[in-house]
């Protein structure tokens, strides 16, 4: 659905751009291609490594580690798993629901989801390439710490 919106939007704007100024449009497409091609190798590498990690972590394996009774140890484990994996949202949330049915705890799931979306160990090389080491290190460690805070509150409110 969102893809349709983005494709229609870019197609429409591209058309307007083409009608207004052909050479500018060509230039913008060239720039788009160049920046895409620039990060493609790293993205492909990243995706391939994610495939390997996820293959080892089946829902059964995950819920055995981050079960309801796993406490803070489970929260730490969940955060580490969330940090090293990168799953698209429309897979991650149904997956979280399955994990919940398999006995995973709310607190642990919250830590998993927070780190999944905010912390990226695998995307770290890419982040460093764009913004440098200090930026990437600080952003990821802050996000990691806050994931615990949110997990704590979720544990109190929902768990």
């Amino acid at each position: 659905m969102q893809n349709i919106i983005f494709y229609s939007l870019s197609f429409l704007l591209l058309l307007i751009s083409f009608l207004k100024d052909r050479s500018k449009t060509k230039k913008s497409l060239l720039k788009a291609w160049k920046s895409f091609e620039n990060i493609l190798p790293q993205m492909l590498g990243m995706i391939a490594f994610i495939g390997i990690i996820i293959a080892f972590l089946s829902p059964g394996v995950i819920s055995s580690i981050i079960g309801n009774s796993s406490g803070w140890f489970g929260v730490v484990t969940a955060s580490v798993i969330g940090s090293v994996t990168l799953i698209p949202a429309f897979v991650a949330f149904p997956m979280a629901a399955i994990l919940l049915q398999n006995g995973a705890g709310y607190m642990q799931l919250s830590a998993f989801l927070s780190t999944l979306t905010m912390v990226g160990i695998i995307t770290l090389p890419l982040e460093v390439k764009f913004f440098g080491k200090k930026f990437a290190a600080l952003r990821n460690s802050l996000a990691f710490v806050f994931a615990f805070l949110v997990a704590f509150v979720i544990g109190k409110v929902v768990g």
């Binding site: 969102q2 983005f6 494709y7 939007l9 870019s10 704007l13 591209l14 751009s17 500018k24 449009t25 913008s28 497409l29 720039k31 788009a32 291609w33 920046s35 895409f36 990060i39 993205m43 492909l44 590498g45 990243m46 995706i47 391939a48 495939g51 390997i52 996820i54 293959a55 080892f56 990168l86 698209p88 949202a89 429309f90 949330f93 149904p94 979280a96 629901a97 919940l100 709310y106 919250s110 927070s114 979306t117 905010m118 990226g120 090389p125 890419l126 390439k129 764009f130 913004f131 440098g132 200090k134 930026f135 600080l138 952003r139 996000a143 806050f146 949110v150 979720i154 409110v157 929902v158």
Partner: protein
């Protein structure tokens, strides 16, 4: 030769997947399935993003971006960054080239941080998934926590970098 060097990480990963496949067929094909799935996702999400960034770069003058999201854009600039981040599509790594393109147009550092923060936590499609998968109480509690966290993280990081360090980050982002 250059091409092999550029894709070295990918080639190593492919090699590991082949080993995994030989060791355990199911494990290997699971990995291949995920890679196939994520690659398709990436190739679906990225083209319009880069086309829009290319158009932004060529058509929108730096001054316009500075006016709406630059150094003196205040609360409105931050709000705009928050809205763009929240209505976005795609995983975290997609926001990096977008943030870099904004840096090229001299968008304020704080607003860049809000954009990245919102992208990673308060994306609206993600919230809908979360609501249906884990319930309203879970989703709203996390959202109520995440909004101030995005702001606090942006404030902390904005303070943590000195002026010349921010300039260095902008120069690095511009070189990509």
């Amino acid at each position: 030769m250059d091409l092999i060097k550029k894709y070295s990480i990918f080639l190593i990963a492919v090699f590991i997947i082949i080993l995994a496949f030989l060791w355990d067929k199911e494990l290997g094909s699971n990995a291949i399935e995920t890679v196939k799935f994520s690659t398709v996702e990436m190739l679906l999400v990225l083209p319009p993003v880069f086309i829009l960034l290319g158009l932004l770069d060529v058509w929108v003058p730096r001054d316009t971006m500075v006016k709406y999201m630059g150094e003196n854009s205040g609360f409105k600039g931050a709000l705009l960054a928050f809205i763009i981040g929240s209505s976005a599509a795609g995983p975290l790594y997609v926001v990096f080239p977008i943030a870099a393109a904004f840096m090229k147009k001299d968008v304020r550092f704080y607003n860049i941080l809000i954009l990245i923060g919102a992208w990673s936590t308060t994306k609206i499609p993600m919230l809908l998934f979360e609501f249906s998968a884990l319930g309203g109480q879970f989703m709203f509690t996390r959202l109520l926590m995440n909004i101030p966290i995005v702001i606090i993280m942006a404030l902390v990081m904005d303070k943590a970098f000195k002026q010349n360090q921010v300039e260095a980050i902008y120069n690095l982002a511009k070189s990509n």
